[in-house]
Amino acid sequence: MKGFFKDFKTEPMNTLARWQDTREPWLLFAITSVLLVLIAHYVFQDWMHMLPCEQCVYIRYGNLVMALGAFIVAIKPQWIWGKIAGVGIFLYGLIYTMLCSWKLIKIHDAVHSDDPMAMFGLQGCSTDAKYHFGLPLDKWAPDWFKPTGDCGYDAPVVAPGVELSDLQRWFIELYQSTDGWYLIPQWKFMDMAECCMLACVCYAILLIALLWAWVRRDFLTK
């Protein structure tokens, strides 16, 4: 990894082209997307009692699709068809996640706005999740894929009789006081959907850089 940064400074494109031939970047994509879903479920949903909304569960699905695509590339990164198929699946997951995040950003703004007209052109949460390809994910794993929250609202809701640890209580009260989760709660800066979008933008930038370096080396400069 140390060598990578040194090489990257002197010849960035070739270094990226070499790097995308290894499993590293693809496993990085795959593991971080799975990690995001795990954090969403275990930390935000289970530990902080924030209920996932319809768009939130779609974002989980999108993240897992991205992970699947990245894992396919990681099987053998030099294999061109594996790369094309894997990147295709990854891109589908990424674009879908971005669309859902964008929708959620707008819904979040609308429900927190004082202007009743802010919600025109939008739709609230559906009572039933509809996954692509008719996948019954919410039936297979309701804990993970069944929406239970309201779109745009992610302040923790603790069921009665639940014992909270001091740390848990501190976080929960913090996010309740700001009426939802923010990266920097004091400033209400970057809500959950905006952070999802930011993660997607990071993925997209890295993916474009890797693909461009690969195409340039193997197809353009030959």
């Binding site: 319809e54 939008l122 609230g124 039933d128 309201d150 745009g152 809701v157 069921a159």
Partner: protein
Amino acid sequence: MFKKFLVTAAALTCSAMAFAAPVEGTDYIVLDKPIPNAQGTFIKVYSYDCPFCYRYDKGVVPVIKQKLDKELKFLDYHLHTKGKYGNEGDEVLATLWVEDEAAGRDPVAEGSMHKNAKFALYKAYHDQKERWDAGADAFIKTALDAAGMSRADFDAKKQDPKVQALVKAWKDSTYDVAKIQGVPAFVVNGKYLLKTAAIRSIDSMVDNVRELSKK
């Protein structure tokens, strides 16, 4: 010159009218299973546990009602499948609806028992983040207190066949409508479901509802 002006004006009017006509699939969907006995109505399927319903009820529906009050009857259909106290919501709101109608009040108008209770539930849930952890009785109390009805009165009146029939009518149709695109869901004449995401302004909503009500 004048003739030319007339032709242009006519063309403009036509295009404006063509533009205003609601398009099936874009602006509305025809329900496979229409809501029965709903000719001449504007039905709002909603839940107390739905932020967009609260916002529509606060800022949009009253304005629409004002503009279309003479043409359509405005009805609320509460959805029992959303929210922890969906079924209790049905019972208490239906009881108050029937009570309002019996007293000659419009249940969706300002000052009615039904509207007072509905807004008390909305405000408690969305503004004060009340979740009625104490149970269903606490939920019902919020509604009844706002409406000014005693619990004993409610327990007796909810048995009224009229109330039971209304609850049944809600339960029979709300879920089938709500599962299409969520709530709030607006249905004209029991058949035409507005696509909420296609609503761009109050005026266009009024125009579309008016056109659909004539179908």
